[in-house]
Symmetry: D2
Subunit: 282 residues, 4 copies
């Protein structure tokens, strides 16, 4: 599929402020960036930083009080892999994870997997195979957590969601990740542009590391599983925030869009409807 | 200084269990490992994994129920740098941190810097220069948090310590890191073998990234600043735990030691007594 | 002073719902209710329940889906006592509190005084006399907690406010209460109609039990200390909520007003400006 | 049944300290205190305070540094009522609870029922009748929370237990109370001396208010339901602690015992084994 993605973030800057944006399509094997454009309403230097985990951050400093607007557009072709059922019927024991996967097994700011180990063991411990466990985790979240705009805030973590039982996509992803890690399965946060998301916004979901591949999961079931353009992976929302700002600013608005360029041919794949269908965004 | 370090961890294994140990001296420019030895009481395969942040994890899987004991000894010479006052009188703004430093600026499992930003700004915002801020943070922790064995547990985070006002070295380090990050200063966890620590144990402290160098800080003031052999750096205790275990085991005991090989010449440097003296472990 | 107070709460009722309102002026020695009127837009039975701590709850059940509106107006004359400095220079030790005061010494839902004992001891332990301690607590809150609309929600407790350092009147009151109790001083929540509060709303503050009298404190400094009509006292916001609803409803709006009937003679008393001036609402 | 209960609490007093003990058998219709004796190892004045909710607190102040020991023994005959199934098949809606029951419907320090409302509604909302709901809550707790000595501490609340899934009797009671209140059912904490509890200790369980009667529930299933002598009821452990101390003391030991005087006739009633059997301690 080829998508045209778009975002515009507008700020009032009051004092010298440094922005770190995380809005560009990820440069991975799973998608080809056909063209992209990052523009600002004023002249300023834009610097690209690639974090150790591969995230492209855009950094800029605005020194004068003024309106500052950054606009990103890109045309991206995604190439998901469909993963065979037999491949997924395996166990990624701690005993055979490579070193670079380890960080995704530990608890993080919003995914306190250490506190959820008994629950994970109780609820998903008997499911055979890592893929079945993660499918079970997503099903459980979908059926037990209410998707409710406004029910959480930037401090809300997986443990909060566990007791309060409501959240938005970010919270669904955090809880999914926490329960995977608590089950011994590496998992990472995934932010992206999402096709058919209502209301339009950045989306958050997650990937679990199974049999050597990062597989895609989205417990919200709000968009087709093949409707995403990846922006970044990370431990959780802490290291993949759309914007980190040091300074004094006011956000006027954020607008996000994701449209299909070749719309006629789009066949939605809803991974949750077919337990044998696993998707990888590479 | 040259130290002889030692640790022994003994477990009763009930079911097949995978261990991930983080007890070896770190391989950094700041210290030379003259000799080291890792032995176990039974024949087993020990695998070394170097995580993305440089931590040496030792992995092994014990399949039979039995007593399992791992013993590490090493002789390590440390080479601290003393950092000049003028160098430290600078500001590491978000605008000039390299990409590989960014992860240490974000909130993590035990260091929820996002929740402590108003406090950090209130209390340390007027101090001029990053070094002065971190010194201020350590002084504040030392004077306001009670060092009390048994007052915290493995779930305790910087936010808990902030209200409960008691903790152990791990909690002092987490709070220091959280307050640095909340002040815009990258900070990372530091675990090590500590000379003259009473009672003998693994020690935790932290490093802050100032003017391009990771400087050493220890808000506990329990050991001389030059009395450490570094084991690992990480975001916090989540990715630098002494042991991660997947399985069913019981810890019989953990013994830790750190002795000076050239004891007569040891001159303790207590960084907190001289605000112009900054130490880097490399 | 004589005030005219007013509140109107409007709900869309979807399913049979029981309301428990806590909006009527309190019947205490400290104020005389000259006239009051409670009306609803539909015929329904209104029942009054006086809780063990003296709160007047209005209970009603609406069985049909419809708009439901309750309106309260009252004219109330308040009689504060001004308490002499010498009287306040005393210590209310646990050893001489009567039994009915004890509940206000224990931690409650939003006032986890148990977790703040070390902080209270550190910060206020050296102040001599209970009155000086509570004045110190209010001053500390005023100077260290930012009053910021939208910074907290219905789950926010004193421990959260302690680390996040922002809140609204409710949070200021909860933290004040928690720190009093942590200092061994009984304290209770106080809700009321407030003169000159901007924007108009129900207000929350607190009372501390000193030398046998409940003295008034408001760490927000937003309204004159003599500008309140008391609605209720309680352990915290948990038992004095403006509305408890069991059912399925949507709140259309809440309007609150407090006007002076004898406006020309109003002389604001700002207790925080004169440390010898203590006020009791009886 | 007639029980002989016993407790001894021994402290080293360092500075003048006031103790508030909550160890005497409750004076309720549900039990007759045949004889009781409260003694101390030193001469001191013991004062009895009856709190608004009926708890008998013993207060004493020890001014000199010394060993202080309080010993309580009593012979108590308990009279439980067995409640008929039909009576329990009812709904205690907020619309018909008396005023003095209201406090037990609100969230409290350790029972944050506000945060657990969605979960309670999800899990127990479809059970018909309050008695069935509370039985469902106890069964759920018994099957999902691990009884594990040392897994919690004095700060642990129902919300913590909800995610961490382990606790002791106190935590089981707090979670039961929180889930009842979140389901619209008043519930209160119950502390007592327990027959056949291993290891011997004070016990905590809870009562739910159903059809005008406080019914007994114990989600731990550790002792026979008819094996208790009540000490106190309260909102939660915050207002029914065995000891509140203001001062500086060290607890040497606490010893607790509960023996049957007429042992031969004891027939254990395990309420959880018979869903039609409800017990009231009056």
């Amino acid at each position: 599929m080829t998508f045209k993605v778009f975002s515009e973030l507008s700020y009032q800057v009051y004092m010298p402020s440094t922005f770190l944006f995380n809005i560009e399509a990820a440069q991975t094997n799973g998608q080809t960036i056909i063209e992209e454009q990052l523009t600002t309403n004023i002249a300023c230097e834009l610097e690209t930083l690639i974090s150790p985990s591969g995230t492209r951050f855009i950094r800029t400093t605005i020194n004068e009080p003024q309106n500052f607007k950054v606009t990103y557009t890109a045309t991206v072709t995604t190439h998901h892999q469909l993963i065979d059922e037999h491949v997924t019927n395996s166990v990624t024991a701690l005993s055979n994870i490579q070193a670079d996967i380890l960080p995704y097994l530990f608890p993080s700011r919003y995914c306190q997997s250490d506190k959820l180990q008994r629950f994970a063991s109780q609820m998903f411990g008997n499911l055979v195979g890592d893929y079945a466990k993660v499918v079970g985790i997503c099903d459980w979240i979908y059926h037990n957590i209410e998707y409710l705009l406004g029910s959480s805030n930037s401090y809300t973590s997986a443990v909060d969601t566990m007791s309060e039982r409501a959240g938005v996509c970010r919270d669904f992803a955090h809880l999914g990740i926490a329960l995977c890690r608590a089950s011994g399965i590496p998992a990472r946060y995934f932010t992206g542009y999402a096709y058919q998301l209502q209301p339009a916004d950045f989306h958050a979901c997650f990937e679990a590391y199974i049999n050597g591949t990062w597989l895609f999961f989205d417990a919200t079931r709000m968009i087709p599983s093949n409707g995403l353009v990846k922006i970044a992976n990370g431990l959780d929302a802490a290291d993949t925030a759309v914007t980190n700002i040091f300074g004094n600013t006011y956000c006027n608005y954020i607008t996000v869009g994701c449209h299909l360029v070749d719309g006629k041919t789009f066949k939605p794949l809803n991974a949750w409807e077919n337990k044998d269908l696993a998707l990888s965004y590479g």
